[in-house]
């Protein structure tokens, strides 16, 4: 009888103790899953570099010093939503991953967005572009970091229209990202008094764009908008040069171009390209210091793209939020991340809005001429800075159900 009392008391004590543990880190480990394209056309602008960026963020946060156990795992979604979804489910169900980071392909990102919401974890979307993530698909478990199609359209699109490029023809990657970018840029062109003379959708990923470029040439539009990214943009620009498109008087608008794309193209072909980005390695001493550490560990010593910088910034803020509320429950951490202002060496001071949009300034950038470049990665010059409050779509215009 006495033993029964003792065991009942012990059981009650354990139960109470277990109840308190519910407000702690699940399994005692914060597991960060970096999910992106490790081997295809987006592997250089995200890929293994994002894993390096995540690890640097964990190091800089000082997790070991603070007694927090953080683990970084990674996987390749091959730009396919079904592959990405099954990895996400396995990570959330079996491997106890708490947050998924990166996901540079918009179609995969939309799928991960849904799964994360259903399972109450967190998704820090540093890689994808579609502005739907903070629009009709917005979720209390997702923060859209780095950039989006609205910001690209507004930055690059309006700059080009205002300097005389008022007739456009779109060459669009035929999937969620291309459609979103084309839609947002068309809206900007029309708002600024321009006209869209035609559009053509190419299979994703594509290799030969000659036939689509020919249609663009025939349209006689002043600007050919490339609503694609990575290897597709590189090939489009190369082949456009071959067909004398720029010599014939039309100009190319690279709507989404990364540092690694410019490097792959080479300055003679890429010079003069104008586009928008939110991070460049040579902006200030802090970005340069990060770049040195990143490039020492990155494959082939590449320099960071804005997506890599976004992964670093997002993981850092995520860990700070967990430190504040002492739990890694996805919904609660995202809520906390929206309450705390952000501050990191790469993007400076910023905020996260109610619709999940991270706000920071954007830069209108032009690719240098070969004579102006003093090093293999000295590729961009900053033409203008778009202040944070103007760079992204106004909160009320997105149609996000969380904003009412």
């Amino acid at each position: 009888m006495k033993r029964r009392w003792i065991s009942m008391l012990a059981g009650a004590a354990f139960a109470l103790g277990a109840g308190a543990a519910g407000a702690q880190i699940s399994d005692g480990v914060i597991k960060i899953g970096v999910l992106n394209d490790m081997s295809g056309l987006y592997a250089d602008l995200s890929g293994p570099g994002s894993v390096v960026a995540a690890r640097l963020a964990v190091e800089d946060f000082g997790a070991a010093r603070k007694g927090m156990k953080v683990e970084v795992v990674s996987a390749d979604h091959q730009n396919k939503p079904d592959v990405g979804s099954s990895i996400a489910r396995r990570w959330y169900d079996v491997d106890k991953v708490d947050v998924i980071v990166d996901v540079p392909t918009s179609s995969v990102a939309l799928a991960i967005n849904e799964i994360t919401r259903q399972m109450g974890r967190a998704f820090l979307a540093s890689g994808p572009a579609t502005s739907d993530l903070t629009g009709k698909a917005c979720s209390p478990n997702t923060i859209h970091w780095t950039y989006d199609t609205w910001m690209l359209a507004n930055g690059t699109g309006s700059a080009i229209v205002r300097t005389g490029g008022d007739t456009w023809f779109f060459l669009t990657a035929d999937y969620a990202f291309g459609h979103a970018l084309e839609r947002d840029t068309e809206a900007v062109v029309l708002k600024n008094g321009g006209r869209v003379l035609g559009k053509v959708r190419h299979p994703f990923p594509g290799t030969d764009f000659s036939s689509f470029l020919l249609q663009a040439q025939a349209s006689k539009a002043k600007v050919i908008g490339l609503a694609n990214a990575g290897g597709d943009t590189i090939n489009s620009i190369k082949q456009a040069a071959e067909f004398g498109i720029v010599r014939g008087g039309q100009s190319l608008a690279g709507l989404l171009v990364f540092l690694t794309d410019v490097r792959a193209l080479g300055l003679p072909t890429a010079q003069g390209l104008i586009f928008t980005e939110t991070f460049y390695w040579d902006l200030n001493d802090q970005t340069r210091a990060f770049t040195k550490r990143f490039s020492e560990q990155a494959p082939r010593n590449i320099y960071p793209s804005m997506i890599h910088a976004g992964v670093y910034s997002a993981v850092l803020h995520y860990l700070k939020a967990i430190e504040a509320i002492k739990t890694d429950d996805g919904t609660k951490v995202i809520e906390q991340m929206k309450k705390m202002p952000t501050d990191d060496p790469l993007f400076g001071k910023g905020t996260v809005r109610a619709d999940g949009r991270k706000i920071h300034p954007a830069y209108l950038v032009e690719v240098k001429k070969p004579a102006e470049s003093k090093g293999p990665w000295d590729l961009h010059k900053i033409r203008a800075t778009i202040p944070a409050d103007q760079a992204f779509r106004p909160l009320a215009e997105g149609g996000c159900p969380l904003v009412k």
Binding site: S39, G40, L41, A43, D44, L45, G47, D174, V200, R201, H202, P203, P205, T207, D208, S210, S211, F212, L214, Q215, Q217, A218, G230, G231, I234, N235, K238, Q239, E242, F243, G244, G248, T260, D261, R263, A264, L265, G266, T269, P299, R300, I302
Partner: protein, 294 residues
């Protein structure tokens, strides 16, 4: 004047582009057809060997300052030599077995090669400058034709017809065709059959590498360039008839044209139209358009 809503000018331009793409399909499917027709090996590494040809040209230019024209000769020789090594060390052991083993081996090789090159060079691709003599182009009225693309059509037609002629009309070609049908008898006549087989595989691989060198200036030189193309090329070879040289050439150019037309009228389907045609051809003529039932 318009055909189905597309002005004839634009249509001719697209057909010409289709013909240019068809030249790449024809060159690559020729190599595959030679290898399968004469050796009964399904060479899945063909795309990787095409990619190696392009990288060989890139390395020759950037490390040894050897230009495009010499690369056209050297890269196929170098990559062809690696093909000979593969055949001697690995493929020759699989002739007695089912076709499937050759397929598995070459498929695995393709994955290994692609991974190695991606590890070394990254996947964004590398730029390869166009040779100066071929830059620029001429205005044909209905489109602007870059000189380089005109060169591609001419060169690949020459190589395709040359290869067809050697295999179908010369003594060397007849030895090869005989050796495929009855190796023991041909060997009894004193012809060194194993060496001929090795050199034929090397030649098929060299054809792939040649296509790679020609592709380098217009497509990014990237480790995945072969993987994207090889599936289409296999479809071309199947449609043309697995063992038929002429079938591969004609089908390559023909399908390039059809793909070009699809890009005008319904671009979203341009990736799949070749497979739809392959399905239809296989239903009606299982041996392919020019193939013979074996």
């Amino acid at each position: 004047m318009e055909i189905f809503g597309v002005p004839t000018q634009a249509l001719f331009g697209q057909l010409l582009i289709g013909l240019i793409n068809g030249s790449f399909y024809a060159l690559l499917s020729l190599g595959l057809a030679v290898i399968f027709g004469q050796l009964n090996i399904i060479n899945f590494a063909h795309g990787a060997q095409y990619m190696m040809g392009a990288f060989c040209a890139y390395v020759l230019l950037n490390e040894l300052a050897i230009g495009y024209w010499w690369s056209l000769l050297l890269a196929p020789l170098i990559v062809g030599a690696t093909g000979v090594v593969i055949e001697r060390l690995m493929l020759s052991r699989l002739y007695k077995l089912d076709h499937l083993y050759g397929l598995l081996l070459t498929f695995g090789l393709a994955l290994v090669l692609q991974g190695l090159f991606r590890h070394e060079f990254g996947s964004a691709g590398l730029p390869y400058a166009m040779p100066e003599q071929l830059t620029g182009g001429r205005d044909l009225g209905f489109m602007f034709l870059p000189n380089y693309r005109a060169w591609v059509i001419v060169a690949s037609l020459a190589v395709c017809l040359g290869t067809w002629y050697v295999i179908e009309r010369t003594k060397l070609g007849s030895y090869l065709r005989a050796a495929t049908e009855n190796p023991a008898l041909v060997q009894a006549f004193g012809v060194n059959v194993p060496r001929m087989i090795t050199l034929t595989y090397g030649f098929g691989v060299a054809l792939a590498a040649l296509a790679g060198v020609m592709a380098a200036p217009i497509y990014q030189v990237s480790p995945t360039m072969g993987a994207d193309l090889i599936i289409v090329v296999f479809a071309v070879v199947v449609i043309g008839g697995m063992g038929s040289i002429l079938g591969a050439i004609v089908t390559g150019f023909g399908l390039g044209l059809i793909e070009g037309l699809t890009k005008v009228f319904y671009p979203e389907a341009s990736n799949t139209v070749i497979f739809i045609i392959m399905a239809i051809v296989l239903l009606l003529r299982p041996a392919g358009l020019f193939g013979t039932q074996k």
